[in-house]
């Protein structure tokens, strides 16, 4: 049966099981929007294309499905860019569709033309410019496959307007044949056995777990593995929730703002088992002094991640779930009772804490959100201090509960991501833990939340400044607060109300709990303006370029 390109697009999305899509219309996507009109696909109109990309990302991270967004050519496409880079850095599966000027005009500097394939080359896993209507269906099939398999990522599909109008027979391929793309899922059994030998002989092993464990849905296997071996677990920012944060074998997060005991454990360790993590500089600190006594086993589905930053003793290319399953079959419990004792000493000596006095401190707000939601909420974050406190003081027991821009560190991510996460998980409470700086970067999405009755809660830890940069200026730039004090700030309560949401202001510690409870009762978006201590800092902290056991601000 002959169909237009626009109709093929819709049918292909249906074949892929796409239920929801985020985006914004424009000139060269008119045929697609016309086909969308009565397609049955739930299209969410955001108020900025960046919001659409982040919402698709939040949806994907919360559900494990592929996030889909759609924008027009030119500025529509470039507005997606930050969102796509954010998702790709954190290996989030997204298929982004952009309209393009008609094929005969490509390269002519036509109205609203940009070379989005060229622009997105370094920030996507792959991209396509569709120049032949007969290839459209196959391209879409491949795009979803590439985005969601191996190390997931972003695929951009650029569709010129004339391709949307032309007609072709619709045939959706059943199988995929991409000869240059065959990700390795099963780990090499010889390597697994070598790893198991090292594990059995280790005295001070640590599991260093990243987002890859969450992506491959391997939390169950990880928990089993720890049950069997009793090896303590530390997680990266992206890995939070991969292993229960309340478990006695959890060391919490490691790295620049990790727990002191996690960082000491890594530094003293004789064996690091890295799974789905990439030895990011925020984790390793000074690379030459990272884990000086440890042998390293590194499991990752992406061969590029292995031995990129740190030389590895046993590289294992494969899916975290498959590798953990194989490890479980072969592993023996090491004798590490002395190690557990040492870790207990560190945990007692350097607990993760803050000054809990009568002042309204941001950490307290996060703790109270944790208490009131009983640890079951989905938390998204912006970037900076709010992000680190959300990582430190909310304990994540389940994967896909903590959603944050780890790699790119994108301010303005959390709020649209919360909207996407809430739409993917309507029964969950979703909180965006934000700062007064970053919330303003995508605040226009309040309209999207109100219009779609998305009951997300935004907890602004309002300290009147760009907190993390101010903290660095305080510590390393002689308190010269260059452009980090936000003297002009909107009234967030009135702003929320102007958008048709609910606004709350909380200035006293004693009012925090009730405010959170009240907010949860409201089935609409709520923006909570917590006026917190302006000079609170995130500690512990490993200063940039230091070894990770050289922390400052450890409260003993």
């Amino acid at each position: 049966m002959k169909m237009t390109g626009a109709k093929i697009f819709i049918e292909a999305l249906k074949k892929e099981g796409v239920e929801i899509m985020f985006g914004y219309p424009g000139g060269v996507v008119l045929p697609i929007f016309d086909a969308l009109y009565d397609s049955g696909i739930n299209f969410i109109l955001t108020r900025h294309e960046q919001g659409a990309a982040h919402a698709a990302d939040g949806y994907a991270r919360a559900t494990g499905k592929v996030g889909v967004c759609l924008a027009t050519s030119g500025p529509g496409a470039t507005n997606l860019v930050t969102g796509l880079a954010t998702a790709n850095m954190d290996s989030v599966p997204i298929v982004a569709f952009t309209g393009q000027v008609r094929t005969s005009l490509i390269g002519n500097d036509a109205f609203q033309e940009v070379d989005i394939s060229g622009i997105t080359r370094p920030i996507s896993k792959h991209n396509y410019l569709v120049k032949d209507i007969n290839k459209l269906a196959t391209v879409i099939k491949n795009a979803f496959h590439i985005a969601s398999t191996g190390r997931p990522g972003v695929v951009v599909v650029d569709i010129p307007v004339d391709i949307q109008i032309q007609e072709a027979d619709f045939y959706y391929p059943e199988s995929i044949e991409i000869r240059g793309y065959k990700p390795t899922y099963n780990a090499h059994i010889g390597q697994i056995k070598r790893a198991c030998k090292l594990i059995a002989a280790s005295k001070k092993p640590v599991l260093y777990v990243g987002g890859g464990v969450i992506i491959s849905n391997a939390s169950g296997e990880l928990i089993e593995f720890v049950k069997k071996t009793e090896i303590p677990v530390t997680m990266t920012l992206m890995g939070l929730g991969a292993f229960p944060g309340t478990d006695k074998f959890s060391l919490g997060m490691l790295g620049m703002h990790g727990t002191a005991y996690a960082n000491h454990a890594i530094h003293e360790s004789d064996l690091i088992i890295a799974i789905g993590a990439r030895f990011d500089d925020r984790v390793t600190g000074k690379i030459e002094e990272f884990a000086p006594h440890a042998k390293i086993i590194h499991i990752d589905i992406d061969p590029c991640a292995i031995s990129k930053n740190v030389e590895v003793d046993i590289p294992i290319v494969g899916d975290a779930k498959c590798a953990l399953r194989d490890l479980l079959k072969n592993v023996e419990k090491p004798d590490i009772s002395g190690w557990h004792k040492q870790i207990e000493v560190w945990k007692k000596k350097y607990p993760l804490t803050y000054k809990d006095d009568s002042k309204l401190r941001p950490q307290y707000v996060v703790e109270e959100i944790y208490n009131v939601t009983k640890g079951n909420a989905i938390i998204t974050t912006e970037v900076g201090q709010n992000q680190m406190w959300a990582a430190q003081f909310y304990k994540y027991d389940k994967p896909r509960q903590f959603i944050s821009s780890g790699g790119l560190g994108t301010m303005g991510y959390g709020f649209p991501a919360a909207i996407g996460a809430q739409m993917g998980c309507p029964k969950k409470h979703v909180f965006d833990i934000a700062g007064d700086g970053s919330i303003q970067m995508n605040i226009q999405e309040l309209t999207t939340a109100v219009a779609n009755k998305v009951p997300v809660k935004v907890a602004i830890l309002n300290n009147g400044c760009l907190g993390m940069v101010r903290q660095w200026q305080e510590l390393f730039y002689k308190k010269r607060y260059s452009y980090t004090i936000l003297e002009a700030c909107p009234d967030f309560v009135k702003l929320a109300e102007a958008y048709g949401a609910v606004g709350m202001r909380i200035t006293k510690k004693k009012d925090v709990r009730k405010a959170i409870k009240d907010a949860l009762k409201i089935k609409r978006p709520v923006m909570m303006d917590f006026r917190v201590e302006p000079e609170e800092n995130v500690f512990p902290m490993v200063p940039a370029g230091q070894a990770i056991n050289k922390m400052i601000g450890v409260l003993a």
Partner: protein, 157 residues
């Protein structure tokens, strides 16, 4: 160190930018890059000669493999291979030097493609050593212009 890498890629547009972009993003220089169709018309073969430290080149090879349109990456540096390059050299000529130039060209089994009163175009094919020595010899006569195809290479095995 210099590396010779052969990259088999899908024969369609956009692939070259993906490959070359990878090198530039890592901040190293491509000495030469050639592309041509293979025995399978849907596949092109690139021969890339690049300079960089071992670790970075190892990363680049992995990243090349990660590209969807890259079918295979062969590092020829470690194996026995035959390499060739074709060079066209335009050399200044006068009656005094003529026979000397022609004699050198003959020694290198080079071909005279064009002769004008003031210059001559010489074509030479060979591996990197031969090309290098030939160009050095010609320099003493006065080179006007050089055009090189870039190296192509094939494993002996």
């Amino acid at each position: 160190m210099k590396k010779t890498i052969a990259v088999l890629v899908e024969n369609h547009f956009g692939v070259l930018t993906h490959v070359s972009g990878l090198f530039s993003a890592r901040g190293f220089n491509i000495d030469s890059l050639t592309v041509g169709e293979t025995e399978d018309p849907t596949i092109s073969r690139m021969t890339i000669v690049a300079d960089g430290d071992e670790k970075t080149l190892e990363q680049v090879k992995k990243q090349l493999n990660r590209l969807i349109d890259v079918v295979k990456v062969i590092d020829l540096t470690d194996e026995d291979f035959v390499d060739r390059e074709l060079v066209l050299v335009k050399v200044k000529i006068d009656n005094k030097k003529r026979s000397e130039i022609l004699h050198v060209a003959d020694t290198f089994q080079a071909k005279i493609d064009d002769v004008k009163k003031e210059n001559v175009v010489i074509e030479v094919t060979g591996d990197q050593n031969k090309i290098k020595s030939f160009i050095e010899m010609m320099r003493s006569f006065g080179i006007v212009e050089i055009v090189r195809t870039g190296r192509i290479a094939i494993g002996r095995k």
